[in-house]
């Protein structure tokens, strides 16, 4: 028979376990960040950044709202880092569920399997730091039904009901990246794109200020080349590989640069690649393409040109920051002229001035499906209505 003391201890143990499972916090909210070094102050080491002169006003971190789109291997760790840093507000978007197959990655725990990623993340993050306001959306941003809501969250989601401060893209597919790009170009929101290659041994982060730097539509996606020949890569029977290490490193680079941008310290990188096989980190700045496919990007570029005409002083600061980039009116880095099909090798990569170790995922545009593709004319003047066509398709 257990003694009362033993039973009491057991009850306490179980209560803690329940609290952990429920994600209930073990501390109350803290109104003001303190720099006092006591073991109960979760912010003392962060506020020390200010004391040391690295960051001017660390406490500003509480005023910022950051959206994290995609709460997978990179996004969940990104959200955790920002939470531990005491960010003001996080808005998380994802429509996936936690699965046991995700357990090679950080953050999520086996007992969370089956829960929506945003819900599970919110519980954990809230218990780590109850001072952070967390808002979650469990939907796919690329569909027509959700896109408008997504954009309006970005426009009005800040702590003061205005536009959020920064968006971090931690999604794993081209469609979602293009959707984010579309939204950020439309509302002029600065964002970081991040990615880990499907071979798990390379990744990147890219900072996009619409109009100032290349947007995601300005050029084909860049890939960090590894010495392993892509064509030799065996993709039989698998879609993608992943490593917690690569994802953790990319999340680290992403949040580090986000903090530098938000808290204004150090230099914010506009592109950092990561080649895990050689521990090589190529960096560069990508200028926007004046023939970008997205008209909103072109509009933002014009606005930026006007802005620097009126504020030439910003350029002087820029040049100090980015020595290798010359800002001249005609010196746009990317040209998307029709590449000469007879000479495909010297197309994008040379005109983009990519640093060694980076290449484009593919060239666009060249001739569609060369020679063998004869055009079949659409007889769209036949005058059939959509309903008629739909019916014809149904009864075929």
């Amino acid at each position: 028979m257990d003694t009362v003391e033993e039973l009491k201890a057991r009850v306490l143990e179980l209560e803690n376990e329940v609290a952990e499972l429920k994600g209930t916090s073990t501390r109350g909210r803290i109104d003001k960040m303190s720099a006092e070094v006591v073991d109960s102050n979760p912010y003392s080491r962060l506020m020390a950044l200010q004391k040391m002169g690295i960051v001017k006003n660390y406490e500003d971190v509480r005023t910022f709202t950051v959206a994290v789109v995609g709460v997978g291997g990179v996004g969940s760790v990104t959200a955790e880092m920002l939470t531990r840093c005491g960010i003001g507000k996080l808005i998380l978007f994802d429509y996936d569920k936690v699965e046991l197959a995700n357990m090679n990655r950080l953050f999520f725990q086996p007992h969370q399997s089956g829960q929506s990623k945003v819900e599970a993340a919110k519980n954990t993050l809230q218990s780590i730091n109850p001072d952070v306001e967390i808002e979650i959306y469990n939907y796919n941003i690329t569909t027509v039904d959700n896109y408008d809501d997504f954009v309006s969250r970005l426009e009005t989601g800040s702590k003061t009901k205005g536009q959020i401060d920064l968006l971090l893209s931690c999604v794993d597919n081209f469609e979602a990246r293009m959707t984010i790009n579309n939204a950020c170009n439309a509302i002029g929101l600065n964002w970081f794109e991040s990615g880990v290659a499907e071979n798990a041994v390379s990744g990147h982060i890219q900072f996009i200020i619409p109009g100032k730097y290349a947007c995601f539509s300005c050029a084909p996606p860049l890939i960090v080349s590894t010495k392993m020949d892509e064509k030799m890569l065996k993709k039989e029977g698998v879609c993608a590989a992943s490593l917690p290490t690569t994802m953790g490193i990319v999340a680290g680079l992403l949040v580090q640069n986000s903090l530098k941008y938000l808290l204004k310290f150090g230099d914010v990188s506009t592109y950092v690649g990561y080649n895990a096989l050689e521990d090589y980190f190529p960096t560069m700045t990508l200028k926007p393409n004046q023939n970008c496919d997205d008209s909103k990007c072109i509009k933002k570029q014009a606005e930026y040109q006007l802005y620097i005409k009126e504020h030439p002083e910003v350029l002087i600061e820029e040049v100090k920051e980015e020595t290798e980039v010359v800002h001249e009116d005609n010196d746009w880095g990317i040209s998307l002229v029709e590449s000469d099909p007879t000479n495909e090798e010297v197309s994008e990569e040379t005109s983009l001035n990519l640093v060694p170790g980076l290449k484009v995922a593919y060239d666009i545009p060249s001739k569609p499906l060369k020679e063998s593709h004869q055009e079949v004319e659409l007889d769209d003047d036949a005058g059939e209505s959509l309903d008629e066509l739909m019916n014809r398709m149904k009864n075929i």
């Binding site: 027509v144 079949v376 659409l378 398709m393």
Partner: protein, 169 residues
């Protein structure tokens, strides 16, 4: 990169003209939808004529959500699957992500929700052919080759089994 059979079926599909997505001017999107249906009808007719009829699709009236059936015939048995996808807001710059939800978890060549894992050739080809490629092209270039490779493998492994009466549906 693209096999001869796929190349041949692609070349018989009308190319689309209107670069418009579901968030663009409704008139343009309607035009695009008509082109989509025209191309799909032609493609299905081509398939039937070649004795290789393998899918049917229809959409909601807005043309933003598509669903239907695709099938694979092996040893005189017809294996049929539901196919569905949404038209992304960035269409036609980005291709739709075709999904066979009932096969989710049965093959590694899939992403969450049963979205099929496309070859490395698909996206570059799609990107080069915006806005000429449409849903019919995505089916021919993406789902067709995928079914041809993955279904026999899943049948062999027992992950997909023949359901009685499938042929009569």
């Amino acid at each position: 990169m693209v096999d001869e059979a796929t190349r041949k079926s692609l070349s018989g599909i009308p190319l689309l003209k209107t670069k418009a997505g579901p968030k663009d001017d409704p008139k343009l999107w309607l035009q695009r939808l008509k082109e989509e249906y025209t191309a799909l009808i032609k493609y299905v007719e081509n398939n039937k004529a070649a004795g290789n009829d393998w899918f049917r699709l229809e959409s909601n009236k807005e043309g933003t959500r598509w669903f239907g059936k695709c099938w694979h015939v092996q040893d005189m048995l017809k294996y049929e699957f539901d196919v569905e996808f949404d038209i992304p807001v960035t269409y036609p710059v980005t291709a739709p992500e075709l999904a066979l939800p009932e096969l989710d978890g049965k093959t590694a060549k899939m992403y969450r929700g049963g979205k099929i894992c496309l070859t490395d050739h698909f996206k570059p080809l799609w990107a080069k052919n915006v806005p000429k490629f449409g849903i019919a092209h995505a089916m021919a270039l993406g789902l067709g080759p995928w079914l041809a490779v993955e279904i026999p493998e899943m049948i062999e492994k027992g992950a997909v089994v023949y359901k009685e009466g499938e042929d009569k549906k």
